[in-house]
C-alpha cells in the first residue's frame, strides 16, 4: 500500500474543497474522495449571490468549479469513490470505498454534506422524477408554461421559487407561517413579494400530491382552519431543509440525535485526528461561506495535530506543560 495521506477528506463540497486548499498549501499530502461531481449541494443551485466577492452573474456550479480548480491547482488530489466504511481508531486511519479500495491517512476530515429533506406525504415517493423535485436547476426546464408549487420559505425555497419563475407560468409558494412571514433573508423576501409570477398560500402545508403517472395536483391544508383545498399543478418543488449524509458514520464518530456530527470549535470530532466540516456538522448556519470557514479551520487543526506527531517539534501543549 502506498504512503498514507496526511489529510484525507471525505466529500468535495465547499467545506471539503477549502480544507483541500489549506492542506495542500501547507504542503501536506491531501486528497478528497468524492462520489459524484465536486461542489456539493451548492453546485445544484443557480441563484447564489451571498458568497463574498461573487455577486454578479455567478452561479452555484460556477463558484464551485472555481473552488475545485483552486484546490487541484495547489495539489489536492480528487479521487472518485463513495466511502462506505472507515476505521478511525489508531494513528493511521483507513477509509474504504464502495468498490473496495482502501486509503490510509493520518488525519480524516469528514465533509459528507446533506441532502434535501423529503415531506413524507402521500404521492411524494412515486411521483419523484415525475413532477416532484428537490432540484430546481435539474428540473426547472420541464415546467415551461406549466404551474408549480414550492413548499418551504427559507432562503433555498424563496430563491429557487424566483429561479422557477423564469420557466413556469405560475409559482405558488406554500408557507406554513402567517401572511407575510418568511424565514428567508429580507432581500429575497422583498424581491419575491414583488414578483408577479409568484402566488402565496399562507398558514398552510402540503397534504398530498395527486397524480397517476405525472403530478396533476396537490392537496393543501390550512393549519388554522384545517380546511383542505385542491390545486391543479404540474410540479412540486420541495425545499424544507436538509438531512445530513451521515448514515455511514453511525458508530464511527459522535453524532447528535438528528445525525449531525458534533465538533468543537476546532472542528475536532470525538476521535483524535478526525474532523468534520460543512452541512453535516452540528452548527448554527449552513452556507457556502461557513462550510469554507469550517474547512480552513479543520485543515489547520489537522496540520497542528500532525506537527504534534513530528519528533523534535515543540508544541503549544509542550510549552504549557513546561509552564505548569
Amino acid at each position: 500500500m502506498s504512503q498514507p495521506y496526511d489529510i484525507l477528506i471525505v466529500g468535495a463540497g465547499p467545506g471539503g474543497l477549502t480544507a483541500g486548499i489549506y492542506g495542500s498549501r501547507a504542503r501536506l499530502k491531501t486528497a478528497i474522495i468524492e462520489k459524484g461531481r465536486a461542489g456539493g449541494q451548492a453546485a445544484t443551485t443557480m441563484e447564489m449571490e451571498n458568497y463574498p466577492g461573487f455577486y454578479e452573474k455567478t452561479t452555484g456550479p460556477g463558484v464551485m468549479d472555481q473552488f475545485a480548480a483552486h484546490a487541484t491547482h495547489f495539489g489536492t488530489e480528487i479521487i472518485k469513490g463513495q466511502v462506505t466504511d472507515l476505521d478511525l481508531s489508531g494513528e493511521i486511519k483507513k477509509v474504504t470505498t464502495k468498490t473496495g479500495e482502501t486509503y490510509q491517512a493520518r488525519t480524516v476530515i469528514l465533509s459528507p454534506g446533506a441532502q434535501p429533506r423529503t415531506l413524507g406525504v402521500k404521492g411524494e415517493g412515486q411521483l419523484r422524477g415525475k413532477g416532484v423535485s428537490y432540484c430546481a436547476t435539474c428540473d426547472a426546464d420541464f415546467f415551461e408554461e406549466l404551474d408549480v408549487v414550492v413548499v418551504g420559505n427559507g432562503d433555498a425555497a424563496i430563491e429557487e421559487a424566483m429561479y422557477l419563475t423564469k420557466f413556469a407560468e405560475t409559482v405558488t409558494v406554500i408557507v406554513i407561517h402567517n401572511e407575510g412571514v418568511l424565514d428567508c433573508n429580507k432581500m429575497s423576501a422583498e424581491k419575491a413579494m414583488k414578483n408577479p409570477k409568484i402566488k402565496w398560500i399562507w398558514n398552510s402545508v402540503l397534504d398530498e400530491i395527486i397524480g397517476d403517472e405525472l403530478v396533476e395536483g396537490v392537496r393543501v391544508k390550512n393549519i388554522k382552519t384545517s380546511e383542505i383545498s385542491d390545486l391543479d399543478v404540474n410540479g412540486v418543488f420541495v425545499f424544507i431543509g436538509s438531512v445530513p449524509n451521515t448514515d455511514f458514520l453511525q458508530g464511527k464518530v459522535a453524532l447528535n440525535k438528528w445525525g449531525y456530527i458534533t465538533t468543537n470549535d476546532k472542528m475536532e470530532t470525538n476521535i483524535p485526528g478526525v474532523y468534520a466540516v460543512g452541512d453535516a456538522r452540528e452548527k448554527y448556519l449552513r452556507q457556502v461561506v461557513t462550510a469554507a470557514a469550517d474547512g480552513a479551520i479543520a485543515a489547520v487543526a489537522a496540520e497542528r495535530y500532525l506537527e504534534g506527531h513530528v519528533e523534535g517539534r515543540v508544541t503549544p501543549e509542550d510549552l504549557s506543560k513546561l509552564n505548569a
Binding site: G36, G129, S133, C138, D139, D141, F142
Partner: protein, 112 residues
Amino acid sequence: MIELTKENFDAEVLQAQGLIFVDFWSEKCEPCMALMPEVVAFADKNAGRAKFCKLDTAGNRRLAIAQKVMGLPTLVFYKGGEKVFSFNKEAIEEGGIAAVQAKLDELVGGGM
C-alpha cells in the same frame, strides 16, 4: 451511445426491436453530469446486449414529458417500444450503476 432527439426517438426507441436503454439528461443537471461517465462505461461494457442511447432533454422537453419523465437524471429501459423499467434520481443514488446493471442482466436474461 446514440444521441436521441425528437426527430429520431420514434425510430430508434418506440418502433425499434429489442432492449433499449435511454439516459435522460441535461447539461444543467449536475447529478446527470456526475453520472454520465459511469453510464458511458456501463454502455461500453455491455455493448451488444442492448441499444444504448441518451436524450438531452434541453430542446426535447415535450418528448421527455410524453415519456413521463419530468425529473433528471432518469434511466429507462424499453423493450418492443414499451417502457419496461425506469430508475429515478433516488433509485440511482440508492443502488448506483450496479442496480442498473442487475436490471439489464435480468432483462437480457442469463447474466454476463
